[in-house]
């Protein structure tokens, strides 16, 4: 459903993404892991059409993404790393605005607003201003805004930053439900346990290159069992792959 081939992006001398390829299928969640500055957000931005790659291509279905107004962008939903919400507007007004950007109007728009609000359990707060929301509620609304136009592919850039365990679990449940409904999800995170719980496949990138692209089981098999005889944690695998030096 989503196929990216040899994406590359440089900013002057800095290579943000060097060579990244992977695929994402219907009903699958791919975890995109990597340390700070690895090039995760840049990759997501290229897939969403916000940044033009220097090289490589993004294929949605069989269609090559091209241009700002490419209708195929409708099949993508972006849930950005920074909260993309207007604090001074109500939850409902925010959703109405983002829905209208995808040409949704009238009853169809109201219906999608109601259904995404229900999914993230914010129906009763629809007419409150976002600035009165807690961090977890804002994250859930941020997710809801990306789902309004019912995209096939969801790009989630660190969707659980600064969220308490309750809200985080609620978001996980939402994502699992979406996966069940056949959506394709790309999930960017630093949190290993999130990837362990959700991901069908894990793509690890570092310095703009893919250094691992495998299933959870394959990844675990790479390292010998820990001293207590149990499975190595993904944390260990990750540090082994990317090294221990500080980034940024």
């Amino acid at each position: 459903m989503l196929k990216i081939n040899n994406l590359r992006k440089t900013y002057k001398d800095l290579v943000a993404v060097s060579d990244v390829s992977f695929t994402l299928e219907r009903g699958q969640l791919v975890g995109l892991l990597g340390p700070n500055g690895a090039g995760k957000t840049t990759t997501v931005s290229m897939i969403a059409g916000l940044v033009t790659p220097d090289r490589g291509e993004v294929l949605i279905g069989d269609h090559r993404l091209s241009g700002d107004t490419d209708p195929v962008k409708r099949r993508i939903g972006l849930v950005p790393q920074d909260l993309a919400l207007y604090d001074e507007l109500t939850a409902h007004d925010n959703l109405r605005f983002f829905g209208a950007l995808y040409d949704l109007t009238g009853a169809a728009l109201e219906q999608s607003i109601a259904s995404v609000l229900e999914l993230v359990e914010l129906s009763d707060r629809a007419s409150d201003r976002v600035k009165t929301f807690s961090g977890g509620m804002k994250r859930r609304l941020n997710l809801a805004a990306g789902l309004l136009h019912d995209p096939d592919i969801l790009l989630l850039d660190e969707p659980t930053v600064g969220v308490d365990p309750q809200s985080r679990n609620a978001i996980f449940d939402n994502l699992e439900a979406l996966k069940q409904r056949g959506k394709a999800l790309l999930y960017t995170t630093h949190y290993m346990e999130e990837a362990e719980r959700l991901a069908d496949r894990i793509v690890v990138i570092d310095h703009g290159n893919v250094i691992a692209n495998e299933t959870l089981a394959e990844l675990h098999a790479r390292v010998p069992a820990g001293p207590d005889g149990g499975r190595a944690t993904l944390e260990t695998v990750f540090l082994m792959l990317t090294g221990r030096s500080l980034r940024d």
């Binding site: 992006k9 900013y11 943000a16 957000t41 840049t42 931005s45 969403a48 059409g49 916000l50 940044v51 033009t52 700002d68 107004t69 490419d70 209708p71 962008k73 409708r74 993508i76 972006l78 950005p80 790393q81 920074d82 909260l83 993309a84 919400l85 207007y86 001074e88 507007l89 007004d93 109405r96 605005f97 983002f98 209208a100 950007l101 995808y102 040409d103 949704l104 109007t105 805004a145």
Partner: protein
């Protein structure tokens, strides 16, 4: 251009604008307050209010019939707010700025002035104390005073006892004037005729044959009729029309530069990226912003004018269509100016400082604070490159100057030209790439 996203963007921007209480006060309340203030200062003499009187003090140290007369006629002068106080008090009040001009009539003034009137004796001095910040009023007071002094001196010379004495003295000292003998003779003849005129008046007074009042002295041989020239006889200059145009323009520019900075904030918060992920063209995104900024600017201008029309009786004496076209072109210019700030600005904080300075310079040079006609002529020429100048002039033309639709054409076209220029530069410099 897809209409649903466009309307949604404008609606969202307006919702955010009205949710921001500071922005609303700055756009709708502050321009009205400052416009009213400047209007009341600059409204000048209008048909129904009297001209401001100049505070003038006269100190009469002479006490002669002539000085009494000067004081009496100055007292009736409608240009003066006259006080009679001591010399020390006068000096003190002028220094404090409470009195604009102080006139001191020194001892012996009447006498000496009479002598100087007929025979060119030493001219006595009037002391004028003035506030240096009111040099223009000094010139006015000097001119008006000349009239009163000439009238008082000549009246006394032709009809009063001082005149008889002065004529007798002048006749007695004819030889000592040093004039050539034929001129001495001619002056003698004239002074004798004046003596004859005096005796006739005395005779008429004693027989009661004449009920004529004392002859007046020399008076100004003309009077003036003053008319403020606007396009129609019934149109009065209204300082509020100018001040509300000026303040409306200043604050609509503040409003649009604020909205331009909002774009930078949207970018900083990652919202702009989110908008761009929707299948919308760059042109639509910028058009949405331009449209919402134009609407806010137009509302700012129209609200402050509506207030001025209701409260201060400002009229659109020119063309209503012309007024609206200048107003819309001004708003569009301001909107693209806001877009330019978004395109050229880096951080919202830095852009805020620079744009405030740019707006203040623009409106100051554009004549929004004080009308451009008081600028030196080189500056008047130079400010033609300032868009606010065209906006102020265009609105002035359509309001109190009462010029027809034709007067709106040039300002409208020039403002649209500025809008196109700002818009093109903004589009070409706008940063779209971001991770």
């Amino acid at each position: 251009m897809p209409i649903t996203p466009l309307i949604a963007m404008v609606r969202k921007d307006l919702q955010l604008f009205f949710a921001d209480r500071r922005a609303v006060i700055m756009s709708f309340i502050v321009p009205i307050a400052i416009g009213s203030f400047f209007g009341s200062i600059f409204s000048g003499p209008s048909t129904n209010t009297e001209a401001a009187r100049i505070p003038v003090a006269i100190v009469d140290q002479d006490g002669s019939p002539i000085s009494n007369d000067i004081v009496a006629s100055a007292r009736t002068d409608k240009n003066f707010a006259l006080s009679l106080i001591s010399a020390d008090a006068t000096r003190d009040q002028v220094r404090r700025g409470k009195m604009t001009v102080g006139v001191i009539i020194p001892k012996g003034f009447g006498d000496a002035a009479g002598k100087a009137f007929f025979s060119g004796g030493a001219k006595p001095q009037l002391d004028l104390l003035f506030d240096p910040s009111h040099a223009t009023e000094l010139a006015m007071v000097r001119g008006i005073l000349t009239e009163h002094v000439m009238e008082a001196v000549s009246k006394e010379m032709f009809t009063g006892p001082g005149g008889r004495k002065a004529v007798d003295d002048a006749l007695g000292h004819l030889q000592s004037t040093g004039l050539p003998s034929d001129e001495q003779r001619a002056l003698g003849t004239m002074l004798h005729s004046v003596q004859a005129y005096y005796s006739q008046q005395d005779a008429a007074a004693s027989t009661g044959a004449s009920t004529r009042t004392r002859a007046p002295g020399l008076t100004m041989p003309y009077s003036t009729h003053e008319e403020a020239v606007t396009s129609g006889a019934n149109i009065a200059y209204n300082g509020y029309a100018h001040s509300f145009a000026g303040m409306g323009i200043q604050f609509l520019l503040f409003a649009t530069s604020g909205l331009g900075i909002e774009i930078l904030l949207e970018r900083q918060k990652g919202l702009w990226k989110r908008l761009r992920s929707a299948p919308i063209s760059r042109l639509t995104l910028l058009a949405g912003k331009t449209l919402s900024m134009t609407i806010v600017a137009l509302m700012t201008l129209l609200v402050s004018f509506a207030f001025a029309m209701v409260v201060f009786h400002v009229h659109i004496s020119g063309s209503l269509i012309g007024f609206l076209s200048v107003a819309i072109a001004t708003s569009l210019m301001a909107a693209t100016f806001g877009l330019l700030i978004a395109a050229l600005g880096h951080t919202p904080q830095a852009a805020r400082g620079v744009s405030t300075l740019a707006v203040l310079m623009m409106v100051m040079l554009g004549g929004a604070w004080v009308p451009t006609f008081i600028f030196p002529s080189w500056l008047q020429q130079l400010t033609l490159v300032v868009p606010a100048r065209w906006a102020v002039d265009g609105l002035d033309a359509m309001t109190w100057r009462g010029i027809g639709l034709a007067g709106a054409v040039a300002p409208t076209l020039v403002l649209l030209g500025f809008a196109a220029f700002f818009g093109i530069v903004a589009m070409s410099r706008f940063r779209w790439e971001e991770a």
